[in-house]
Amino acid sequence: MDLIVDADLTQKQGNSSPTLDQAISALLNGPRFIDDENTITLRANCARKNQHFPHLARHITGITSRSGRLKIVFENIPPSISDVNDCDGLPKLVLANDSCVSISNLDSLTITGLNIQYLADTCTSTLTNINSITFSSFCFNSSASSNSWMNGATSRFEIVNVTTFSMVNAIYFYDAFREIWINETNEVIFDRIVLVTLASIISSSHSAFFVTASNDSINTNLTITDLQVICDPRALVVPSVVETLFIDQVSISSMKVSNCNFSAPTISSQAIIRTAIASDFSVQEVFLSNVIFGSNPSQSIFSMTAVLNSVLTNFHIMTLYSPYKGIILLRLYFSTIKSREEQIREIIPRGLGDGI
């Protein structure tokens, strides 16, 4: 079924709806899609307009296990999403407490050209048991809208049991209140992500992306290309951009951090990229320029714990200034213990803590 979202409409007309939630609702019979092929196109007039997932039909699922496809696309996408101002020209998909998304059992889910405002703190958005998920040409803003997160608020956007999860050409506004949590996913791909570290960034354990495999039988590979970190000009805590635990391979190609002042005080160990228990870690083409560190001796750019093989190539560092407390560009906790179980038992509690 192909549907249109036309913001100029006041009510549904044929295959066109005034809002995204109405269009999605039209695809469903109860929680299930009516058809296998489902495409929703947002007209150019949806730019800057708030859109939601259906408020009441929170859980959406395929007809049978991993069948059906859902594609949501904005028709007026800029050629590239590379500047924060590009986000203003996109429709806003607001995932708030009354409009979390919960989708499962699809063959594919594709969302293109939306400005996702992830504001929920009493519900969790989840995408589970899907062959392929692709977010492209989009913005993702997870900055806090209230202080309710301090009272046991939900903080994760969960991606679970997915064959391939891709985020391509995005701007991610990050303040460490919430994270994208990816578990039991075979291939995770981040391509051309600009992470905007906000002035309100807090010292917390929430990474922008947390990738793990809690099931030993799942092999997970993470591939990152063209990752850029840009910063609010004020003093910030080092952002925890990517954290991985128990995954097989991490590959990063081209990472840039420039004009950042990471001298804000923090009590926690912070690293831009942190990997624990992995077989292979590779990173190439890292550019750091005009970066200030300080105030916390546990800060680092890369932190690796019990990674069997690491390859780091082509690092270009200019004007790194660490005047107060130490920054460590690459922090490795390493073990030559042959037993993987013993490594986990011995190293992880040490390496992930602040005590070393």
């Binding site: 093989n309 004007t319 130490g326």
Partner: protein, 425 residues
Amino acid sequence: MGGVTIENFSIIDSYLNSNAYIFSLLILGAKNGTINNYLAQITMKNMNVANTMFRYAGMLRLTVLTPRFIAAIENVHFTVTNFRLSNVSLEYSSIIYADGFLSYITDFLADNITLNAASNFYLSTAILSTVFITNGKVKNLSLKQNSNFVKGNLSISRLMSLGVSLDGSAETRPFVICNCSFDSTHIESDSTLIVSTNPMIIIQQNTFTNIFMVGSGLLVLGGYPHYLSSQTYFNGLDEASIYYSQISGAFIVNTAAEKSIFDNYPELGAIYRNSRATISVYDPENSIFFVLANENSFAAIFTMAVVSLVRIDNFEITNGTIGVINNSFMTIFASDGMSVVGGAMIRSGIFSGNKFMSLNLGGYAFSFHTGTLDKIFLDSTLFSHTHQLALCFINAIKCKCKRLTRIMLWMWKRKKLLLISAADL
């Protein structure tokens, strides 16, 4: 087998202070014998550091978390190749700090480096570690206030617990500086270019030119703190059992440790074996542990308040000897009574094939104070255009053996050639 490879790394125009490190690698100490651990390689290639200041900081820090015993084998090998340092200054800092790792630094260029206030290019102090430094060019180096270019100097008490593989065999921690040049070096205020307390030391085919020293040292070698004492014990592989060593007398070569070290570095293995063979020619029983300065060239050196240019101390170890062989010392001026090669407390020494040319200093070519001197070989020494320099001064409580042959003198201007005194000669 696992490891870390870092290639094509550059840092320029930077300032690191207060425990800041570019790389920090911390390895968990083996629990009960290195046999249960795999060998890991850390490899760095094409590193460039320029216009950067380190203060209470460093570039690379390799440390062992909770070392439990003295291991027979170092399980992590760290290699740096093609390393460029230029316009770099340090205060209370070390470029490379590596304790408990085999370090191999080769093909490096250091130009316009200032090491100030207890700073080092390479430093190891807490765990006796293997060091190989080869094919390096060091220009315009300044060492001040107790700083060192290379310092492998164990300065804390040794662990009482020993790995079982050490039982009866030598602790194998070679220290090799080979094929390096040091040109235009300024050393002052208790600083030293090269310091090592390792049990096997090789300083070979290096050139030291245009060096100005005040109250400092060029090579300070020896002082190996033996791993075995009346309190040491061996830790069984099951972790629970311990026993005391039955070693009495001679040690044997630890072939497993040497194989572990040199399998990956055959060229270094050749240097090591040749060095032991060189010592063995003179003293086959005492070539397990050795300090060997071989085929080095020292030229255009000016010193003030320096006791010995090459100083070898505290190497009385069983099965150990020192050798100063085929070195060239040329155009050296000392404002005080400096000896060229000197030290204290050695058991056996070989001084052969050395040339002393255009030296103007009021000391000895070789000068040692020691207890019992088992063997001394003084052979094929050439003096040419020297002023004030005498050949040899030995002050021993007991001197068992000596052999002096083929001493050639030209333009000799010293009254006493040789002075050997001992209570029991």
